[in-house]
């Protein structure tokens, strides 16, 4: 009876020990995190990958911040309707080309055109912050600065605000 009791106790101890699951920590150089870009969910381009120990991270902020209005140098936006995009000068400024006789419209001066694709990727703002590289299609820092002022004044509820929020700690 004593031997059976000892045998039972040993089996109980073994059972307790095996109940702790093995946790595989992986290898130093093998990534344990892979990040999918938001565009992957809409069938867009190939998803991003995670970085391993010693490797550079490759997650990209591909959320979008729309800008479909013209902006003045202070980042204040106006409806682009009536502005003649073909009149763009070297700094990206376009003139109001409407035929309206309204006195209010007659006061409309030049403003910076919106980006060619109508939005920026969050990553483009990060790249500018880190390297000064302007997004594709933008050739004037004054134009981009005006857009940045517009973006940084976005309020909750405005399109692009959530994307901006996700970038705050990187900008």
């Amino acid at each position: 009876m004593t031997d059976e009791r000892k045998s039972d106790e040993m089996e109980l101890a073994a059972g307790k020990a095996s109940r702790r699951a093995l946790l595989r920590l992986g290898a130093v150089a093998a990534p344990a995190v892979v990040t999918l870009r938001p565009a992957w969910a809409t069938g867009g381009h190939h998803g991003g990958g995670g970085g391993g120990g010693g490797g550079a991270t490759t997650s990209l902020a591909m959320c979008q911040i729309p800008i479909d209005k013209v902006c003045d140098k202070d980042g204040k936006s106006y409806d682009a309707y009536g502005y003649d995009m073909s009149s763009a000068d070297d700094e990206g400024m376009v003139a109001y080309g409407g035929s309206s006789t309204s006195s209010k419209d007659k006061d409309k001066g030049k403003c910076y055109a919106p980006p060619p694709k109508g939005y920026y990727y969050g990553q483009e703002l990060i790249d500018y912050q880190e390297s000064g590289r302007l997004p594709d299609g933008i050739y004037s820092t004054k134009q981009f600065d005006a857009h940045l002022k517009y973006i940084k004044n976005l309020k909750p509820g405005q399109s692009g605000f959530t994307c901006l929020t996700s970038l705050v700690h990187k900008l």
Binding site: R24, G50, G51, A61
Partner: protein, 80 residues
Amino acid sequence: MRPVDDLTLVYHRPSGMTHVVSPAVVAILDLLHEQTLDIGEVCGALAQHHDLDGEGDDIARVVGARLDEMAAMDIIDRIA
């Protein structure tokens, strides 16, 4: 967070990013959920609740690599 076999999907709403993470990352996230721990404390807590595949400095090295990876992905914040 959603488990898929032994992987877990972690969706970060502010950025729209989805991270696919290993069980080790989930275990570390559980520890750091509401407290700040250094690497030694993370290793100790993991060893307390799991059988780890490794020992001593090897564990600390790998846990450090996981923490670096998670910080790079902004899943956790490193403080000093």
